[in-house]
Symmetry: C2
Subunit: 144 residues, 2 copies
DNA sequence: AGTTTATAATTGACATATCAATCATTGATA
DNA sequence: TATCAATGATTGATATGTCAATTATAAACT
């Protein structure tokens, strides 16, 4: 087996995604959708561009995930009066409930993933992941 | 920002994938293809099922990635005489060269990602990622 | 031997992610 | 004001990954 960080990170991420897949199926959500619900939950209604910028993904992906979320009744899209190009995306009660349930499933998964980690190790792991992210993110200039 | 391990892992993985994208473009490889080349490099020719099992991905994905790799001249597919269902996948010299170049780019990326990590922190980070992976993997029975 | 079961590869369909291009609207400039 | 550039959303194309179904061959069993 390969011991590069690239593969270690891939395998951990891949296993996590697999562990959460049953939850997604039960909730009727796609892989990338919960994070959008979470952002809306924490920050209130916003435009699609804001979601794309925050998560550093393509606006096209956001658009399609919202199509799906809207069809499932988890969010609403309405035009912004100030700027008719913008859609204001808002959570529905069903969207809130789905996100709460999702968080519960995430906590369960995390507990299994970190079952043999001490509190200090958990702290350090979170720190390392955050630093790894920031080190790579800053490559793109950070002030782009 | 959310501080769940789920999001921390997602963001680190996502940033890593973004950092390696230019290398993929230059080498003419897709995101998931280098790991297949790596396995073939380390283990010699094998069937598609073996790749799918090892990386825990769907045989359909392997099949399509190999279509692409074959078209690019990175691997060859020939029928196995012992078992006519099987294709034996083998690296071409171009495939080997592409993988070497890929590894070089991965090392560069890792160095940036871990630039402010001490050797001890790198050790621990690798350990944590491996344990997180194994803890989730074992959910599926491990002896399935 | 002949039927059944299992396995290897493939194809179709859908979600996510990326890139490129388009459309409508807004803002800035001449 | 009229034009041009910038922005928000969308659609099309392609790659990865998942699930379901199909085809061909192999292995097991009666």
């Amino acid at each position: 087996m390969e011991r590069t960080f690239h593969m270690l990170l891939y395998r951990a991420f891949h296993a996590q995604r697999g562990a959460l897949r049953p939850a997604l199926g039960e909730l009727g959500l796609g892989t990338g959708q919960p994070k959008l619900l979470g952002y809306l939950r924490r920050n209130g209604p916003c435009g699609q561009r804001e979601l794309a910028n925050y998560f550093e993904i393509d606006p096209a992906a956001v658009c399609r995930m919202l199509d799906s979320l809207q069809k499932g009744g988890f969010v609403t899209r309405r035009a912004d009066d100030q700027d008719k190009r913008r859609d204001l995306i808002a959570l529905t009660p069903a969207g809130e409930a789905a996100y709460e349930a999702w968080q519960e499933r995430c906590r369960d998964m995390e507990e299994r993933m970190l079952s043999d980690f001490t509190p200090e190790e958990r702290e350090r792991f979170a720190d390392y992941l955050g630093r790894a992210y920031r080190n790579l993110k800053s490559e793109r200039g950070d002030g782009t």
